[in-house]
C-alpha cells in the first residue's frame, strides 16, 4: 500500500512541474535609440549681387552723379537653408557699400558710402538691420523651416546726398541662423 502511494506521488509532482514550466515563453525587448542634433544649415549660403553703375547718369545737373537708389531698393535674392529646432533664430547684420579704392574723407558734396536696410524673410518671420548703426539687428524666431530665405534691400541712400566718388563699391549682408531647442 505504501509503495502504491509513493509512486502516485512522484508521478503527480512530475506532471505538475512539467505543466507549470511549459506555459512560460521567453520574451525579449530591444530598444533602439538615436538623436538629432539641433542645427541650422545653408545649402545656398553665398550670393553676389552686382548692381552695376550706382549713380544717376542722365537728367538734371543737380542729380547727375548722385546715388541712384533704384539700383538697390527693391532688390532681393534668395538664400536656401533649414533649421530643425522650434526655437531657431535668424539675425541679420548689414554692412554699408563702401568705395574700396578711395581713402580718407570725401570732399564736400561727395559721398563714398551707401547705407541701406537689409531684411531677411522666411515665411512670415523677418529680421532686419540697417547699416546706419553698427552691429546686428534684433533676431527673429524662425523655428522649423526648410526653404528659401529672401534677402531684400530698402532705404538705400548716401550720407549727404552728394555725388558719388568713382570707384568700385562693396558691401555685404550676413544672415545668421542659430539653432536652439
Amino acid at each position: 500500500m505504501r509503495k502504491t502511494v509513493l509512486t502516485a506521488t512522484i508521478m503527480s509532482l512530475g506532471l505538475l512541474a512539467a505543466g507549470a514550466a511549459s506555459a512560460q515563453p521567453v520574451t525579449g525587448s530591444v530598444a533602439i535609440n538615436g538623436s538629432v542634433a539641433s542645427r541650422c544649415s545653408f545649402s545656398t549660403d553665398n550670393v553676389v549681387l552686382n548692381i552695376g553703375e550706382m549713380s544717376i547718369t542722365s537728367g538734371s545737373t543737380s542729380t547727375l552723379g548722385t546715388y541712384d537708389h533704384t539700383k538697390l531698393d527693391g532688390l532681393s535674392t534668395p538664400l536656401t537653408g533649414f533649421c530643425n529646432g522650434a526655437g531657431a533664430t535668424m539675425t541679420v547684420e548689414a554692412f554699408p557699400m563702401l568705395n574700396t579704392s578711395f581713402t580718407g574723407a570725401p570732399p564736400s558734396g561727395f559721398d563714398d558710402r551707401v547705407d541701406y536696410t537689409a531684411t531677411a524673410t522666411e515665411n512670415n518671420v523677418s529680421a532686419t538691420d540697417t547699416t546706419l548703426t553698427a552691429g546686428p539687428g534684433a533676431p527673429g524666431t524662425v523655428g522649423y523651416f526648410s526653404s528659401n530665405i529672401t534677402v531684400s534691400f530698402s532705404n538705400s541712400a548716401t550720407p549727404g546726398g552728394g555725388k558719388m566718388i568713382a570707384g568700385p563699391y562693396s558691401g555685404s549682408v550676413n544672415v545668421t541662423l542659430t539653432p536652439t531647442t
Binding site: K3, T7, I10, M11, G14, L15, A17, A18, G19, A20, A21, S22, A23, Q24, P25, V26, T27, G28, S29, V30, A31, I32, N33, G34, S35, V36, A37, S38, R39, S41, S43, F82, N84, G85, G143, Y144, F145, S146, S147, P179, T181
Partner: protein, 195 residues
C-alpha cells in the same frame, strides 16, 4: 490416464511447498519523469527575459535628413544584438513586433518629421541547420508577426539575433528630422514553447 496426471500434479505441489521459508519477495518500482516544453535565456542564468539596446547615435547628415547608411537594406555595424536561448520543444512559436523610431514631438510642420519607420529582423538558428528570419516593417505591419520555427532551436550561443535596417523617414527621405536628443523605438520578441 487423466487420474494419473492429477496425482502427479498434486505431488509436484507438495515439492514446491516444502522450501517456502527461504523464498524472498520481489517487487518493482517504476520511475517516470518528464521534460517540460520550455524556453530559457542562457545569458540570464535560465531566466525568461532578455534585453539590449541598439544605439544609433546622431540620425541625420549635414542637410538634416536621415543618414544614408541607415537607409540601407542591411543592418549597419552595431545595429544587431545577439542572445542565447534554449528551447526544449520541437518548434517554438515566435512572435515579433516593433514600434516606430520617434521623438514624440508635436506634429511637425511640412517638410519635417520626427518619426522613422524601419524593418526589424529576428533571426533564429535551427538545430538542423539554417536560419529562419522573421521581419516586421513598422510602416506596413498591421500587427505582430507570429509563426512557428518549424524545427528545434539550435543550442549554439548567439542563436537569436535582432537587427534593424531600412530606416525611412515618415513623409519621405527628403524631410528634415526634427531636433531631439531622444528618438526611441522598441522591438519585442516572444519565443514560446510549442504546446
Amino acid at each position: 490416464m487423466k487420474r494419473v496426471l492429477l496425482v502427479a500434479t498434486a505431488i509436484a505441489g507438495l515439492a514446491f511447498a516444502a522450501p517456502s521459508l527461504a523464498q524472498t519477495v520481489s517487487g518493482s518500482v517504476g520511475i517516470t519523469g518528464s521534460v517540460a516544453d520550455r524556453c530559457v535565456v542562457n545569458s540570464s542564468g535560465g531566466g525568461e527575459t532578455f534585453s539590449d539596446t541598439i544605439p544609433l547615435g546622431e540620425l541625420t547628415k549635414s542637410n538634416g535628413t536621415l543618414r544614408g547608411d541607415l537607409q540601407g537594406s542591411s543592418a549597419i555595424s552595431g545595429a544587431t544584438v545577439k542572445f542565447s536561448v534554449t528551447c526544449t520543444g520541437s518548434s517554438p512559436q515566435v512572435t515579433l513586433s516593433a514600434t516606430q523610431l520617434t521623438a514624440g514631438l508635436a506634429t511637425p510642420p511640412s517638410g519635417f518629421s520626427d518619426t522613422i519607420d524601419y524593418t526589424a529582423e529576428l533571426d533564429l538558428d535551427k538545430a538542423a541547420g539554417g536560419t529562419v528570419p522573421y521581419t516586421y516593417n513598422t510602416a506596413t505591419a498591421a500587427g505582430p508577426s507570429t509563426a512557428p520555427l518549424g524545427g528545434q532551436l539550435s543550442t549554439a550561443n548567439n542563436n537569436v539575433r535582432v537587427s534593424a535596417y531600412s530606416f525611412a523617414t515618415v513623409g519621405g527621405q527628403s524631410n528634415v528630422l526634427s531636433a531631439s536628443p531622444s528618438y526611441a523605438a522598441t522591438i519585442s520578441v516572444s519565443i514560446a514553447p510549442t504546446l
